[in-house]
């Protein structure tokens, strides 16, 4: 489920892990009640500092995505579903922000940019069943 962490990529590692979890929640890959690996397990799998993983879990718990059940581990919280929507929005708007920066930098017009976005979305649309 988790991609490997790329330390060379510029973002801090804890943000990378956090983002991955948020993405999974946003995409519905992780639903409330799913058990996350223990800190140690995840750290070992990703080859990162357990403190980092612990911090991610703490932050996400603070944000309401996760909950720790005493003696049992860390789970996706029931609230996650509710937060999922806002997560989705947040993640997409982050990407859009990056695209918007380029649009301004390259001097594309707003209209051209929106047309471009529509095109890209169309390409991404999942293919209909009759294509099989």
């Amino acid at each position: 489920m988790f991609d490997t962490i790329n330390p060379k990529s510029a973002g801090p590692i804890h943000r990378q892990i956090g983002d991955q979890i948020r993405r999974s929640v946003a995409a519905g890959l992780l639903v409330p009640g799913d058990k996350l690996p223990s800190v140690r397990e995840l750290a070992s799998r990703l080859l990162v500092n357990p403190n980092t993983v612990a911090r991610v879990y703490r932050d996400l718990e603070r944000d309401g995505l996760l909950e720790t059940r005493r003696g049992q581990g860390t789970y996706i919280s029931a609230n996650a579903a509710a937060l999922a929507e806002s997560e989705r929005r947040r993640l997409v708007s982050e990407n859009l922000d990056a695209a918007a920066r380029d649009v301004h930098a390259f001097g594309l017009s707003e209209k051209a940019a929106l047309d471009l976005f529509r095109e890209v979305l169309a390409n991404r649309r999942p293919q209909p069943e009759e294509e099989r």
Partner: protein, 299 residues
């Protein structure tokens, strides 16, 4: 934090070999429970530093304390609480792995064979194999396995990843992380492979030519050292703050690295027809930037 919160503290530690200064006034602090990475190029003095902590060599000046114990006066007590793995350290070739473990078991007052066996079996090392038949990676793992048998509070890993193939390196990293299960165990690791160390370290120190250039938590470092990109009209280049590194100027673009990033910096650079961007740097980039600056400043 009081000194007791630190697993390792050095006070102006210096070591000379003849006229060569291997360590020059190094004052480092390694908090308990952290994974601290001391990075630097070849010959920077990392191994000398570790050897001073173990009292394999005596410092010329200054002192050091591990878990509150002076490394010279209480060196035996220090070594009882510290596990040590060194890069490519020759082991006693004629011993079997089990003999080596048994020998070590006899040297320490406390010994727990479980983590040792766990590591050995996890990586598939035959206990009855003679050390001389092991590959380089297997030796490193065997040494690591045995080093945690006496439940050390501090693990000193001197270039534990150097010279290993990528698979072995990952295995070592994994086992280091597994070894962190004990609460408050501190790991001190030195090396040149900054990318790998970036994964697991939460504190870093840069050692170049015997001097500690910098010591910080990784997060803080990454938050403070950023690359700023300013797009501006030609002939309107912005003023670069003092202390900026790696300055690249073209007609319409100025890029530089700053060591003290803050939102105020961006505000100060903002202007009409300007676009600003703050880019995160990898630890390797940060290190190279800072080390180079140090060399330039020195010349």
């Amino acid at each position: 934090m009081s000194d007791n919160a630190y697993a390792i503290t050095t006070y102006s530690l210096s070591k000379r070999f003849g006229r060569h200064k291997a360590l020059d006034d190094v004052s480092a602090r390694v908090p308990r429970g952290s994974i601290y990475g001391l990075m630097g190029p070849n010959g920077a003095g990392k191994t000398t530093f570790v050897r001073c902590l173990l009292n394999l060599i005596n410092p010329t000046r200054g002192s050091a304390a591990v878990l509150g114990l002076d490394v010279v006066r209480d060196s035996v007590a220090v070594r009882q609480r510290v596990g040590h793995v060194a890069a490519l350290q020759p082991l006693w070739e004629w011993m079997k792995v089990s003999e080596f473990a048994d020998f070590m078991a006899g040297c320490y007052p406390r010994w727990n064979p479980e983590p040792v066996s766990a590591v050995l079996s996890r990586v598939g090392i035959d206990r009855e194999a003679r050390i001389q038949t092991l590959s380089r990676g297997q030796r490193a793992l065997a040494a690591l396995a045995v080093a945690i048998g006496h439940e050390p509070d501090v693990l000193l890993l001197d270039e534990a990843l150097t010279g290993l193939d990528p698979i072995a390196r990952r295995e070592v990293l994994r086992n280091i992380i597994e070894a962190m299960h004990a609460e408050g165990r501190t790991v001190f690791i030195t090396g040149q492979d900054i990318a790998d160390m970036e994964r697991i370290c939460d504190h870093v120190g840069f050692l170049v030519k015997g001097r500690l250039l910098l010591e910080s938590t990784l997060d803080e470092l990454k938050a403070r050292v950023k690359r700023i990109r300013v797009e501006h009209p030609a002939d309107a280049s912005p003023e670069i703050p003092a202390g900026a590194l790696q300055v690249d100027r073209t007609a319409r673009e100025t890029i530089f690295t700053t060591r003290d990033f803050s939102p105020d910096l961006l505000t100060s650079l903002a202007g009409p027809n300007r676009r600003l961007e703050a880019l995160d740097l990898s630890l390797e980039d940060i290190f190279v930037n800072l080390a180079q600056q140090n060399t330039e400043a020195a010349t």
